[in-house]
């Protein structure tokens, strides 16, 4: 089998892994070697689905002894099988890296013979890269569930990031769709990685998974609610110190009575809302319980979680731009981490007005309803719940949310989100 065919099969089999980030570690290049790492990560391309391509994302092999229902590589699936030798893969990685196609390698694998055997092949690939090619770029590797602890530890010393996929958000879902995997198989290596990362007394120059660990779960293959998923996510950040949790909208790849029908559309809006909430947990100081609770178990399809929170907590607004603490500024719709920081910087030298806020990159269309500048609201602003809601709905989300099979037909003056023109007509009495 030639290289082209192998690459085809093994990248095709790896593409459902959502993670393709190269962030979390800063490493200078070394004379005699090749490669460095940038803290924020670097994307090198974007595929036709709009996802970033940062790493060469391939499986070492797509042969597998397991039979997980949702997975295209499961034993019972009739598909072409291939495997890279460690040497082939290391050489390909270097050749791609030299041409600035990629930031490094994302290596995962089906289980060949046994978890331990597979793990050893992966270690050999990484060892070749690090020791022979003296590769200093980014390596993300999947921990193989069920592999020996010592092997996981060796793998972790060669990689920058390691991940163990949770796959499904609850024990019940896991038992239903991945009968060979157990909750313990997943959380044990996670705990091991956390433990190993905590060890401080290592020989000089030795780092265990310096960019931390991440995980991924599939959304929409099982009936788990947004609330369950978000709680689990928060738990993972707090308990296991994860750097990222990725969500992957389930795309039907095969017929099975336990799975959604093959023509089901991937729940992209739901995935999007989960990522928005994930950001709120990590950068905006929100707690999962503020975003969803037992009465509201799913996200509002029309407005993002932050706006949704703001509308339901109008008693905390408006806030005074020139005095509000950073934490409160972050909670204003239309202000993000960057603009909040800029506000802090700019108000040190003088008070800010609405024109100034606009220059700092605040989205006034949203923020105006929640802000005061020197005790005053924006001039000419009329606040009524309808106008606020309309300003907070993004046209894109509206279209996504209003897919015909999901939304019942409702009588409306507008067939889609009211545009600026519609609004104007409405005000001037044309409609």
């Amino acid at each position: 089998m030639d290289m082209m065919e192998k690459l085809e099969i093994l990248s095709d089999a790896a593409k459902y892994d959502a993670a393709c980030t190269s962030s979390g570690v800063d490493r200078a290049g070394k004379k005699g070697g090749i490669g460095n790492c940038a803290k924020g990560g670097i994307c090198h391309s974007f595929s036709a689905d709009g996802r970033c391509i940062s790493l060469l994302k391939v499986l070492l092999t797509n042969c597998c002894i397991y039979d997980c229902k949702y997975c295209i590589n499961r034993r019972s699936n009739d598909t072409r099988r291939a495997a890279f030798t460690p040497r082939e893969l290391a050489e390909l990685t270097i050749q791609f890296y030299r041409r600035n196609y990629i930031e490094g390698l994302f290596l995962s694998s089906g289980i060949l013979r046994s978890p331990d055997d597979t793990c050893e092949l992966m270690i050999e690939t990484l060892r070749l890269l690090r020791e022979e090619y003296r590769f200093g770029g980014y390596i993300h590797v999947k921990a193989i569930p069920g592999a020996d602890d010592r092997l996981i530890c060796r793998l972790g010393l060669l990689a920058d990031r390691m991940s163990v996929n949770i796959e499904l958000p609850s024990r019940e879902s896991l038992a239903l769709l991945a009968p060979d995997k157990h909750k313990e198989d997943i959380f044990r290596p996670m705990a091991l990685i956390r433990e190993q990362r905590g060890i401080v007394s290592r020989p000089k120059g030795e780092h265990f998974v310096p960019a931390g660990q991440s995980t991924q779960m599939i959304i929409g293959a099982t009936p788990d609610t947004d609330l369950q998923i978000l709680r689990l996510t928060q738990g993972l950040y707090r308990k296991y110190g994860l750097k990222r949790v990725f969500f992957s909208a389930y795309i039907p790849v095969q017929e099975d009575r336990l799975l959604p029908a093959i023509d089901t559309k991937p729940p992209l809006l739901r995935e999007h809302r989960l990522y928005q909430a994930d950001w709120l947990l990590r950068f905006y100081g929100f707690d999962a319980s503020e975003l969803l609770d037992e009465q509201h178990q799913s996200f509002n399809p029309l407005v993002d979680p932050k706006c949704n929170w703001a509308i339901n907590h109008m008693e905390q607004f408006p806030v005074e731009v020139n005095r509000a603490p950073y934490e409160m500024l972050l909670r204003v719709p239309g202000i993000g981490v960057k603009s909040a920081r800029r506000i802090l910087t700019a108000r040190r030298t003088g008070s800010l007005d609405f024109a100034g806020l606009k220059k700092l990159g605040v989205v006034l269309k949203r923020a105006q309803y929640f802000l005061l500048c020197n005790g005053k609201m924006m001039e000419g602003l009329r606040v009524n719940p309808d106008a606020v809601l309309r300003a907070l709905i993004s046209p894109r989300d509206y279209e996504l949310a209003a897919l015909p099979e999901q939304a019942p037909e409702q009588l409306s003056l507008f067939t889609r989100a009211p545009s600026g023109e519609d609004m104007q007509k409405c005000l001037t009495g044309e409609i």
């Binding site: 290289m3 082209m4 690459l7 085809e8 990248s11 095709d12 593409k15 459902y16 200078a28 290049g29 070394k30 004379k31 005699g32 070697g33 090749i34 490669g35 460095n36 940038a38 670097i42 994307c43 090198h44 391309s45 974007f46 595929s47 036709a48 689905d49 709009g50 996802r51 970033c52 391509i53 060469l56 994302k57 390909l92 050749q95 791609f96 030299r98 041409r99 600035n100 196609y101 909208a249 795309i251 559309k265 991937p266 992209l268 800029r342 910087t345 700019a346 040190r348 030298t349 003088g350 800010l352 007005d353 024109a355 100034g356 806020l357 220059k359 700092l360």
Partner: protein, 271 residues
């Protein structure tokens, strides 16, 4: 200070010339209404400022004394090559002399905001180049052709020399007619009009084919979203990217767009 609403300064457009405009303005105690390049025509009375290294250095050092960050902003704003940057930088330096280092936090001020945006734009453009720049190997030398909006080569130098210490490579910026040359372990930036490239070898063609196939395979058909892709990777970058360019580079790349002479004074001002 006499605010001369009708007087226009003209300089050579380089960093030295610009700094000399600041110097002249303070020695003559007058504020020009605009600063233009030498060739530009205007109906207003003009004063042509000749570059003088010593004067420029005095201004440059005075800015550095106020704040290193301000110095960096001035250099980056100048690299952005945006229209009107000369006068904007002049106004910015005046503000620095008045308010000191706190000028940098006056983000709601029009002049400071303008500079801040230029700095961000040029830094973003440099980052885009780190992302989307592609090398092709020609007889053991890696060659890349880029068309950035700002003159970002000085901002790429450290990144790529640190990344590929043992390679020999060339990055040719065809918008500004300059190129970064590197072989172990020295690098320099030079004015270049065009590059003559031999045809790509067999291994190079194979790698490009592998990469293109990988690029096609990694996309998930059920999530096809060209708008999202264009948001992250605008079409203006595509012609220089192996996987998105319509055809392999056939003709030898040469300078197009802006006039030459951008490189000149630069490396002394930015590290």
């Amino acid at each position: 200070m006499l605010d001369r609403g009708d007087l226009i300064y003209r300089c050579d457009g380089g960093m030295t010339g610009l700094l000399c405009c600041v110097f002249e303005s303070y020695t003559r105690k007058e504020i020009p209404a605009d600063i233009l390049g030498m060739e530009e025509l205007t109906l207003f009375p003009v004063r042509d400022i000749l570059p003088d290294e010593a004067h420029a250095l005095r201004v440059w050092k005075s800015v550095g004394k106020i704040s290193r960050q301000a110095q960096r902003w001035v250099a980056l704003a100048w690299l952005s090559c945006e229209d009107g940057r000369l006068y904007a930088i002049y106004r910015f330096i005046r503000l620095l002399y008045t308010f000191g280092s706190k000028t940098l936090s006056m983000l709601a001020d029009d002049t400071v905001n303008r500079i801040y945006r230029m700095v961000r734009a040029v830094e973003n453009e440099a980052h885009h180049m780190k992302e989307f720049l592609r090398f092709a190997e020609y007889e053991k030398v890696l060659v890349s052709v880029i068309s950035p909006k700002g003159a970002v080569l000085p901002l790429l130098q450290h990144h790529f020399t640190d990344r590929f210490p043992e390679e020999a490579f060339v990055i040719f910026d065809r918008t500004h007619g300059m190129a970064l040359f590197y072989r172990p372990y020295q690098a320099y930036i030079q004015t270049v009009e065009s590059l003559q490239l031999p045809p790509a070898g067999a291994q190079e063609q194979e790698m490009q084919a592998l990469w293109k196939r990988y690029y096609e395979k990694i996309a998930i058909a059920g999530r096809f979203n060209p708008k999202c892709r264009m948001g992250h990777c605008p079409k203006r970058f595509w012609p220089d990217m192996t996987e998105l360019a319509p055809e392999l580079l056939k003709e030898s790349p040469s300078r197009q767009g802006l006039p030459a002479g951008i490189a000149g004074t630069l490396p002394t001002y930015i590290e």
